[in-house]
Structure formats: structure tokens, C-alpha cells
């Protein structure tokens, strides 16, 4: 079953065509990667899907419902949660309180949210830092907090914008394990990624964007052998 259907999305900014007739789908419980060179329109596509940018034309269907043009917080409440390329922890709240926010939004009481927050911190290996503020954390752990907070929303689908960027090999495999575990728990993941090895290892399918157009979709193997993809990354003549 398709949990997310992106149909003929176009978006231009002051005449610059950021997205042109982009269509793809994500099946339930899949991990799908969006790749493409810088400026290909990946982040714009994410912002359109998450409701932060309104598309000029096209339609987004999530879980059988048309969510095009809906406010971001309403889309979030339907179970689509986005994380950010630049991590955005709530700086004046402790880690525990950061994780409490999505639990409170689910209608849980403050004390119940606190309990559940602790168990999520445990799962993400952050429980020793429950009362620490985010700016005291090293970068890799802040990335982990960002994912933990999204996970705390019990999302149906997670949109991860370069969640693996800037991590060391060890940190990378930690987060990859976390993502695999989340998929095992039934969460669908759509991710923008630059770290190729990780993308190839994690994703069931890959969507390739170049200059705002979708140029290929398929399994990691299919995509890497696609001549158009090779040309987009390496230029003509390869």
C-alpha cells in the first residue's frame, strides 16, 4: 500500500524552476532515499511534502488523504514528522523536556509524558543526559536527539533531511542501526541523503532528482547503473 503519493509537483521561485512535475510514491514500511546533486530541489521537495512550502501545481496524498496546502502542524498531527538538516533542538528545554513535547501533543499528561520520555531516551542511548540541555551535547548526539524527538511523535512516516551528515563512521553505524530498528517497528522512512554508502545500504528504493526533475527511481543497484544518474553526478563522457 502506498502511504505517500507525490503527484506532478511543480514549484518555482521567482522564475527559477525548483521542482518540475515530480511524481513518486512511498510504500508502507519502506525506506526510500532522495538523492541528487546540490541544488537539485531535494530540500524544496521535502518542504512541499511537509507543508512548509506550497506547491504551484500537483498533489500530495498521505495515508489516502489529500494533504496539499495543509499547515505543517496539521500534517504533523496526521503522522508525518520531519527532521531538519540543521538540527533544531529546543534550547531552553532539557533533553527529557524536548522529548516530552511530542508526547504532550499526543494528549498525555505531564507526568506520563515524562515517564515515556525517559524510556525513549533509554532507547536512543541518551538516558544519562535526561537533564542536560541540548547545547551541552556533542554534534552526533544532537542529531540523535533530533531523531529521538521525531520518533516520540509515533510517526507513520519520518522525513529525514540529511540525518547522517557530518558523522564519523561509528556514529553513522549507530544511527543506521536506530533507523533499521525504527523500520522494524513499522515506521516508513523517506530520507534525503548525501552519504552514499549509507543510503545504498539502508534504502529499498532511491529517487534521483536533478535540476528539479525526477530522473530515475529504482533499487540502489538499478539507480547507480542508470546512465542519466551517472551523468548527473559525474558529467558527460563517463
Amino acid at each position: 500500500m502506498n502511504i505517500l503519493k507525490v503527484q506532478s509537483i511543480s514549484k518555482s521561485f521567482d522564475g527559477l524552476q525548483a521542482l518540475e512535475d515530480v511524481s513518486f510514491y512511498v510504500k508502507s514500511n519502506e525506506i526510500v532515499g532522495i538523492i541528487g546533486p546540490n541544488g537539485a530541489g531535494k530540500s524544496t521537495l521535502f518542504n512541499v511534502i511537509g507543508g512548509f512550502t506550497k506547491p504551484d501545481t500537483g498533489e500530495i496524498q498521505f495515508d489516502g488523504q489529500d494533504i496539499t496546502g495543509l499547515a505543517p502542524h496539521k500534517i504533523a498531527r496526521q503522522g508525518m514528522i520531519k527532521t531538519f538538516q540543521l538540527v533544531k533542538p529546543f534550547g531552553s528545554l532539557t533533553l527529557k523536556q524536548n522529548i516530552m513535547i511530542p508526547k504532550l501533543l499526543k494528549g498525555l499528561s505531564i507526568s506520563d509524558s515524562m515517564l515515556q520520555s525517559i524510556s525513549i531516551l533509554e532507547r536512543f542511548g541518551l538516558v544519562g543526559m535526561a537533564d542536560v540541555f541540548p547545547n551541552e551535547l556533542p554534534y552526533a548526539l544532537r542529531r540523535r536527539l533530533e531523531i529521538a524527538r521525531a520518533f516520540a511523535s509515533d510517526p507513520k512516516i519520518l522525513l529525514l533531511d540529511e540525518a547522517l551528515a557530518g558523522l564519523t563512521q561509528n556514529e553513522l553505524s549507530d544511527i543506521m542501526d536506530i533507523l533499521k530498528q525504527m523500520r522494524h517497528d513499522g515506521i516508513t522512512i523517506l530520507m534525503i541523503e548525501h552519504v552514499m554508502a549509507a543510503t545504498m545500504a539502508l534504502c529499498d528504493r532511491i529517487v534521483v532528482l536533478n535540476f528539479g526533475k525526477l530522473i530515475a527511481t529504482g533499487t540502489p543497484n538499478e539507480v547507480t547503473q542508470n546512465p542519466m544518474v551517472i551523468e548527473a553526478y559525474l558529467g558527460k563522457g563517463h
Binding site: F52, F90, S92, L93, M100, L104, L105
Partner: protein, 322 residues
């Protein structure tokens, strides 16, 4: 929050309470009307600062237009009293209601403005309302102002000595404090702080950021208007320069900045320190050396901001934890 910071926070609270108890005892039983006068002003401005802190400190929307709500409160009750003989208590409620309505209008129209743009917009709106109060003479009597009749009774919120005003001002501060504390400690307090820290991330998690900002602005506006009514009743006079003075907005911000923005005790500490300080400096030096009092006051403010950029409330916990 760990135990240590909880402890130091409660020490700051204790410090504030001690000041309060002594002040309250004097306000209730004291005989020196000058000291009572200082206490009443301290309470009124503290209450306004607490109200401002709800939307500015917690929601992160730095309003410079709270004079608008203060003036609406002062004028609504005064006009209703003068023209229709309606008790200032009912006038206060009416003022709060109108201010809440205006607050929603202002917040809803400026909701997309962030940072300095929002501050400037609110400042301009407050100035605009001040001009209206000047020009709409049929209603406000223009620059001549409204002089309220002296009919001492509880129903008319008018008293022969200052003790009555003191208790009303005290009740005002308690109302502002309790309202803010209840909101801040509820789930909405978490949402307010989250969207203040990272607006986009808050939306992405599902917080209805616009709505909670508008509601917090509305409550803040209503409480500020109540302060305006009490102030007008205390002076038994209101004119545009008093009711809609831009300095009201700045002072509310100042007390919070000095005491600690986005903390419950911050505006109380700011109020206890600054309002009496300004009054004492003014009465000591105001007559003989005109410009000296504000110069010293301003110099002290600069010192405090330089030494404690996050306000005094943050300082007390810092000393303890290091």
C-alpha cells in the same frame, strides 16, 4: 530540571518572598504615605511586567506596544465611570475584554512578523491608539484628560488612604503571577517555550504555534489592561500621555530584562529593584540636579545588563552551581 537548580530557584523565590512580606506588612499597616506610594507603583508596574513576560518572555514575541492595552484599560473604565456612572470594577472587566479583543486583532495581523519587525509594529500600533485618544475628544476629552470624581467607597474603587489601593495592586500582581504560573507549568508552557526556541521545529512536531501565540498575547493584553484601570483609579486622572505613554511598554520590558526574561521571578525581582530605585533617585535628585537621576538610573541599568545579560534571576543560580 535537576535538584540543584530547583533549590537555587527556590532560594531566589525565597528572597522575593521576604521582600514581599515586609512590603506587604508596611503597605497594610504603615503610616508613611510616601513609602506606600512607592509600594503601590512597584506593584502596578510589577504586574504589568509579569503580563508582558507571558507573551514576550515565554512566547518570545517582544512587544513594545503594551502601552496600548494599559491605555485601553485606563480609558475604558474611566469613560464608563464618567459617562454612565458604571463602577470601575465592571469597567475594569470591560477594559480587559476590549484589550483582549484588540490583542487578538494585533497578534493575528502581526503573527508572521518576527523579531524587531514585530516589536516595531506593536510600537506603532500603540502610538496610533495614543493619537486616537488625543484626537477623539468627545470620548476622551483629549489632552485635557479625564479627572475622575473622588467618591471614596469600595464600589467606586476609590479610597481615602492608600491602604485600599495597596491591596488592590497586590491582588493585581497575585492574579498576574498565578495566571502566568498556571500557563507556564501546563502543557501550553512547554509549547510556548518550544516555539520560542525553534519555531519551525515546533510546527514540524505539530504545535499550533500561531494559535498559542495569539492566546498568550490575548491573556497578556487583558491583564495589562487591568493594571491600567487600577493606575487610573489611583491617580483619579488619565490623559493620553499617561495612559498610552510608550515608556509603559519599555518599562515592562526593562523590568523583565533586568530581572530575567522568561522566568517567573524575573519581573518580580526587576520590579522590586527598579521601581523604588527610580522613585528614590527621582525624589532625591530630581529637584536640584534635573538630569542626574535618569543618568544614574541608566548607568546602573547598563551595568546590570553588562554583568548579568540574562537577568538577575539567572545570576543567583549561576553563583550556586559554579
Amino acid at each position: 530540571m535537576n535538584n540543584l537548580s530547583l533549590l537555587t530557584q527556590s532560594k531566589t523565590t525565597l528572597f522575593a518572598i521576604v521582600f514581599w512580606v515586609t512590603g506587604s506588612l508596611y503597605g497594610a499597616f504603615g503610616t508613611n504615605s510616601i513609602i506606600q506610594d512607592v509600594l503601590i507603583f512597584t506593584l502596578i508596574w510589577t504586574g504589568v511586567a509579569i503580563s508582558w513576560n507571558l507573551t514576550a518572555g515565554y512566547a518570545g514575541r517582544l512587544s513594545l506596544g503594551h502601552a496600548a492595552y494599559f491605555g485601553i484599560g485606563a480609558y475604558t473604565s474611566s469613560i464608563l465611570y464618567m459617562k454612565f456612572g458604571i463602577s470601575p470594577w465592571i469597567g475594569a472587566a470591560a477594559g480587559m475584554f476590549i484589550a483582549a479583543f484588540v490583542g487578538v486583532l494585533i497578534e493575528a495581523t502581526t503573527i508572521r512578523l518576527l523579531g524587531i519587525y514585530y516589536s516595531l509594529a506593536t510600537f506603532a500600533i500603540a502610538e496610533l491608539l495614543g493619537l486616537m485618544a488625543r484626537g477623539w475628544t468627545e470620548l476622551t476629552n483629549g489632552m485635557a484628560g479625564l479627572t475622575l470624581p473622588f467618591k471614596a467607597s469600595l464600589i467606586h474603587m476609590t479610597f481615602t488612604n492608600k491602604t485600599g489601593y495597596f491591596f488592590i495592586a497586590l491582588g493585581f500582581v497575585l492574579l498576574c503571577f498565578t495566571t502566568t504560573a498556571l500557563i507556564v507549568n501546563s502543557r501550553y508552557g512547554f509549547y510556548l517555550k518550544a516555539q520560542r526556541d525553534e519555531l519551525v521545529a515546533a510546527k514540524a512536531l505539530g504545535i499550533a504555534t500561531n494559535q498559542i501565540c495569539i492566546v498568550s498575547g490575548m491573556i497578556s493584553a487583558a491583564l495589562t489592561a487591568l493594571g491600567g484601570t487600577i493606575y487610573a483609579q489611583y491617580l483619579l486622572y488619565i490623559d493620553p500621555d499617561i495612559g498610552f505613554n510608550w515608556y509603559i511598554s519599555v518599562q515592562a520590558a526593562l523590568l523583565c530584562l533586568i530581572g530575567g526574561m522568561g522566568t517567573l521571578v524575573g519581573p518580580i525581582i526587576g520590579g522590586i529593584l527598579l521601581v523604588p530605585l527610580e522613585r528614590v533617585l527621582h525624589s532625591l535628585l530630581g529637584g536640584s540636579y534635573g538630569g542626574l537621576a535618569p543618568a544614574i538610573y541608566g548607568g546602573l541599568l547598563i551595568m546590570i545588563v553588562l554583568l548579568m545579560p540574562k537577568g538577575i534571576a539567572s545570576m543567583t543560580s549561576k553563583i550556586k552551581t559554579t
